[in-house]
Point group: C2
Chain length 500, copies 2
């Protein structure tokens, strides 16, 4: 078979998982109880499916450094084989996948097959997933546009459904890599025809679907040959195809990261691959998934997954530090703070450094309304966490008062902050771990653990980590204004011009 190229689609705010998910740190970066993020888990199964070959990621420009850092933690990740397409804005899945197909045909093989994976799904049985991916690949090889259908666990009204038709028979595929013996053997069926995509049903209809056995949840994962997809688009959505070709051409065949022109990108129709292609295409199939699946669509979904934290005798599930008194069926997700629940039931309680959520478990979908309200008032808690990620590392605001601002900075090995100055604040730096290379004015020196230095107002300075170990540094800012916009950047290795 031809090469399988997993395409990770990573974006979306995941506002229903506020306050953990924020636009600057969205759902794919959210850590599960085992300490791994959804994105990391997605990369893990993509690498398993790719079998050593490349994994392509389509994500927002703002998430590039954060995503790369997350990938770097995976022992099998090789940055050489993890190309990125960076979107200047969100334009839904059809344009993203079209661009991924074009990139793949140019750089990874004209006959390659794409395996499209949203970065914010949770699948625990990776072996079953890889086996199903092989079935889908076999169908895709035969020209089918393939989706994965999830066997409904309940009469869910929040998902679209696929009505599945007759079994699809294909020629037995060639053995390939880690292909499990049961997948796609001779005389076996890899999947079923798609009779129809159906919209989110009401409860009664959803119950009928569940009972019939012929309906599956539409997972948003796909598999198709890159050329077959682009061919289908010619018929189903030529406007998307033309705009995507223009946008792709303007990127001049760069290898990675590919940054698309803002205006060309803005001209792309905002449309999903389901609407633009799958619902209108002719040769399509569904692989009934043999793996478990959750789209972690709300705190209710998070509370229901088997997270390793076993519920207590009253059904309370606690991540973090909590005391529960006469409370039942609560999900408590905490951080450093203690959470006490007294006489309550069926609540979701989520605590972060700067925001606390208390929600009825059954109404957890409405959490997005909190974010909408915060956005309307331009509240920072809709976008940022107290810990803010930067290409060079991260900072956490420890104190933000009228007379000072205190931050903990973490600078990664090799990380270099921009050469900068401030006009309304001085800074006092104390290194509490690691060794920093510091420039203050024209002086350059090393600052060791337990040493401090002073950066007067209007003085050019730069901080970098020339070592192999993280630097931790406490910064005390003195002045009369501490906004992130009081910064003049003279040089920046990450190409940032206007923001920290």
């Amino acid at each position: 078979m031809s090469r399988l190229v997993p395409v990770i689609l990573s974006g979306g705010a995941g506002t229903r998982l506020w306050p953990v998910s924020r636009s600057a740190y969205p759902k794919p970066f959210m850590h599960m109880a085992d300490g791994e993020s959804l994105l990391y888990k997605t990369l893990d199964r993509a690498l398993r499916a790719a079998n050593g070959a490349a994994v392509l990621t389509v994500t927002g420009r703002d998430y590039y450094f954060l995503t790369r850092d997350e990938y770097a933690r995976h022992p099998s990740a090789d940055a050489q084989h993890l190309p990125f397409l960076l979107e200047p804005a969100g334009r839904n899945t059809a344009p993203a996948i079209a661009l991924a197909a074009m990139y793949t045909m140019q750089h990874l093989g004209t006959d390659a097959t794409l395996l499209v994976l949203p970065a914010d799904h949770l699948i625990r049985d990776v072996d079953a997933f890889v086996a199903d991916a092989r079935r889908a690949q076999a169908l895709a090889q035969d020209g089918f546009l393939v989706t994965f259908g999830i066997k409904p666990a309940s009469p869910e009204t929040g998902f679209g459904y696929i009505r599945m038709g007759a079994a699809v028979k294909i020629a037995p595929p060639q053995p390939f890599g880690q292909l499990p013996p049961q997948a796609g053997g001779a005389n076996s069926s890899c999947g079923r025809e798609i009779s129809a995509f159906v919209e989110k049903p009401d409860r009664v209809t959803a119950e009928k679907y569940l009972a019939s056995g012929d309906y599956a949840w539409n997972s948003g994962m796909f598999c198709f040959r890159a050329d077959a997809l682009l061919d289908a688009m010619q018929t189903t959505c030529p406007d998307v195809l033309v705009a995507a070709r223009t946008c792709y051409a303007a990127a001049h065949g760069r290898e990675s990261p590919v940054e698309f022109d803002k205006d060309a990108f803005a001209a792309l129709p905002d449309i999903s691959i389901d609407y633009a292609v799958m619902e209108r295409a002719v040769r399509r199939a569904v692989v009934p998934a043999s793996f478990d699946w959750s789209d972690i669509g709300s705190w209710k979904a998070v509370s229901e997954i088997d997270s390793g934290a076993a519920p207590d005798a009253s059904g309370n599930r606690v991540q973090g530090m909590a005391v529960t008194i006469d409370s039942e069926n609560c999900f408590i997700h905490g951080g450093k703070r203690l959470i006490a629940a007294v006489g309550v039931k069926d609540l979701v309680i989520v605590d972060t450094a700067d925001a606390v959520l208390v929600a009825d478990r059954e109404r957890a979908q409405q959490v997005k309304q909190v974010v909408e309200q915060l956005r309307r008032s331009d509240h920072a808690a809709a976008r940022f966490h107290q810990t803010v990620h930067r290409p060079w590392g991260s900072f956490t605001v420890l104190e933000d008062e009228a007379d000072c601002k205190v931050k903990r900075l973490t600078v990664k090995p090799g990380g270099v902050l921009s050469l900068q100055k401030h006009s309304r604040r001085s800074e006092h730096w104390t290194v509490v771990d690691g060794t920093a290379k510091v420039r203050v004015g024209e002086r350059e020196f090393l600052l060791q653990r337990n040493e401090s230095t002073f950066i007067p107002m209007e003085t050019l300075h730069r901080l970098e980590n020339p070592t192999q170990k993280d630097i931790h540094l406490i910064e005390v800012q003195c002045g009369d204004y501490f906004g992130e916009d009081d910064i003049v950047r003279l040089e920046d290795v990450y190409g940032r011009t206007a923001k920290a």
Copy 2:
């Protein structure tokens, strides 16, 4: 009339108001929505009732500096007329009041009348309170032991009740100070006899009490002549009287603060004034209160008082920053963090720097169980806040990690930290507001705003505020251990030997 001496009894953990009330910062220090603490409000009405004369305070030794600071904020407070009796441990109200009576007779007048006021009650109508205090004083002058009866607002089962008997007639008292014209005039009745003290009733009985009109809540406020009280104790609880005399004698007639010997104090019976005296005394009376009253016994009580924060259309009352979506009748008490409530009702949500409480409003009494559980596991959140008060000011822990601890210190005008050293940490100080006098080793110098200094491990140092303005200072500790017990004190102006 003789002099009226208000006696403020300030102590008690107030565990039902956790996480705002903690043993190191208990209920009297809790701030109401108007920004004033219960203690400050109690002092205010005591000063009004004392009419310029002394107010005596009985409190725990640990609360002395904090209480003095709170008093110093009152424009009419004169430290010369605010003597303190400091208890080395809690021994309930009978011993505390006996000692107050002995102190009063020695230092403030043998014929003085005590007005006993717990520091954790809320009374809004101070004029009515002062008028009722005058009525009580008139009765006390006539030798009565007087309590204040609160007209029940509901069939409360959490209070003891007083069955009120016939009106008590006394001779018209002499005009005195701000005595309101209606109080204790000729032929008027100042109060009623006490037929009986009755225990906390069940609901049905409480409803009968409410309907009858002859029952009042026992408020825990009292008025009696100091000599009349001690005379009564001779009969009702001679053991308390004897132990109190021994304890008082050992204090050698010091004026203020009077610190009692730990062992002599420990020998005092742990008994309330109700049991020890009021229930057994002969000549006693009740003044039906014409003022509003709340003992702020739980978060439910806090949520019900008219706090200035008007409830929204759904009955939610918010102090701090909150977003409520489809939520009803919730009480939200926050600090710096954002609190979001979604689809919940009848909850109390209280957020502090290091702990969050979510409780059913009707089960708010059970909050004390949280504190009991925390105490069993010796969790700091049962005792301390993130901001810890010291005689010289306060500190707030901003960060406490393996590699460093960061604090904001506030040093009051005249505040002097002990001359000290640490064996496992160095300290980096940056003044962010004010001017500090600093000693490091043998050097002594001023540290101005935006200046910093370094205190190496094992180096003697001292910080003081020689100015009239608070100092704010950020302290970054580097080392391998940051416990408050890594401190060797060589000199301390507050007489502290073992703790910071």
